[in-house]
């Protein structure tokens, strides 16, 4: 319970997520030659939404409408526990395996789709159908990319097992197959986070706010919070799978992790700022040809042992 509520669950990952979201917005602003928001901006956004009225549309099913954002946040918090072992290394009470991770990572997207579906707004339903297509297109390459880590660690599917294998040998990122898989996984991650080249589901200029169009107040805050937490937790997961090395001391580990995280975040922010939004059919094509190709290559190389 303490794991879930404080460290490394809800509280810790939401604070880090807010920080990550601030870095993301600040970097975006600097890239556009602006000054950008103050440090506490994500916190202000959330606190404001907590204090606002929550409007439930007349057609929506009330309980589900209010419950789905909470499910989304708790799924991300659970996922944070699953790989929140930067400091606690391998002594976590439940060191989950990759299957749990894959399922938990889909939950927020499913919540979004359901939430849009029941809110009864035509624009939200268009958004939901786009989000569904996006999930279908990125999930396969993503799972293939994760498979590379499994193959390289000789059939290990427990996350801590993969980490300790890397600690004994070398991070997978420094091999050909590992690098390719990492690349494919990062591209899928951008889509999972709903960031710009793949944000057709929330396209503000065409379908208003897409899936979230009917949400307000507390429920909207919960969806925003889960987005922020995802921005911290998902890259962390990838770093663990492909780029883990232990240097002994706790503080050193945390510092090295922060540095790696920043590099991954920087890549994500750069991708999002240098690409225009793709239409949904273009994104599906992109994932099913290029990204799928990259991860398939990575799997083949991993089998050969490169």
């Amino acid at each position: 319970m303490i794991d879930f509520l404080f460290f490394p669950g809800l509280l810790f990952s939401s604070v880090c997520g807010m920080l990550a979201s601030f870095i993301d917005r600040k970097l975006t602003a600097r890239i556009q030659w602006r000054k950008g928001p103050p440090l506490l901006q994500p916190l202000y956004d959330l606190v404001k939404l907590f204090g606002k009225e929550t409007i439930i549309p007349a057609q929506a099913s009330k309980a589900l409408f209010l419950l789905l954002p909470l499910i989304s946040v708790s799924a991300v918090a659970l996922f944070a526990i699953l790989n929140g072992v930067i400091v606690k290394s391998s002594v976590a009470p439940f060191s989950g395996d990759l299957f749990v991770a894959i399922y938990l990572m889909i939950v927020p997207a499913v919540c979004l789709i359901l939430a849009a579906g029941i809110s009864g707004n035509p624009l939200a339903i268009v958004g939901a159908s786009r989000e569904m297509k996006l999930v279908l297109s990125y999930e396969l390459p993503f799972i293939l990319a994760l498979l590379v880590a499994v193959i390289k660690s000789h059939g290990e599917i427990v996350i801590t097992g993969i980490m300790s294998y890397q600690a004994y040998t070398a991070p997978f990122l420094f091999s050909l197959s590992g690098a390719l898989a990492f690349l494919a996984a990062i591209i899928c991650l951008v889509a999972k986070l709903g960031l710009v080249p793949f944000d057709a589901a929330e396209a503000e200029q065409e379908i208003i706010a897409g899936v979230l169009v009917e949400y307000s107040g507390f429920s909207l805050a919960m969806f925003k919070l889960s987005k922020m937490m995802m921005l911290f937790v998902y890259p962390m997961f990838l770093i663990k799978l492909f780029w883990h090395n232990a240097c002994g001391s706790v503080i050193g580990d945390v510092m090295v992790f922060a540095l790696k995280y920043f590099v991954v975040l920087l890549i994500i922010v750069l991708i999002r700022n240098t690409n225009p939004r793709l239409r949904i059919d273009q994104s599906v094509k992109f994932f099913w040809t290029y990204v799928f190709g990259i991860s398939l290559l990575a799997v083949i190389f991993a089998f050969i042992g490169l």
Binding site: R25, A29, Q32, W33, R34, K35, G36, P37, P38, L40, Q41, L43, Y44, D45, V47, K48, F50, G51, K52, E53, T54, I55, E204, Q205, I208, A209, L212, V213, E214, Y215, S216, G217, L220
Partner: protein
Amino acid sequence: MAKLTMEALTRSIGVFHAACSPCNNCDIEILDVLTPRYDVERFGITLVGSIRHADAMLVTGIPNMKTAEKIKYIYEQMPKPGVVIAVGTCACGGNMFRHSYNFVKPLDEIIPVNMYIPACPPNPEAIIMGVVKLIKALRG
């Protein structure tokens, strides 16, 4: 709690752009405010697409036979607390359309208006100044 909300609200304003039959000039000025040159994100102001996410409505233009009801309807859909800002002389009082056959009544007789930014059209600096003054007034 209300005080905390107000404090946060004045630092993070989601603006909804409600065009209520303007001549479109005011809208262009509003879009200018949102460009990197004026960078209103430093005050926490962002443009939102859905009225459900909005904390402030920027209303431009005159309420006419068709839009008068709609603007009232939109205002009612905004989650409270929220503010209304009338941008341009049209929204403040009718401008040269006030004797038109199509003019219903001034905006502030339809919905409560918290801030008036006159001029035809107001330039981006004037809009930012108006919003900042409103923020100061709300913080008290």
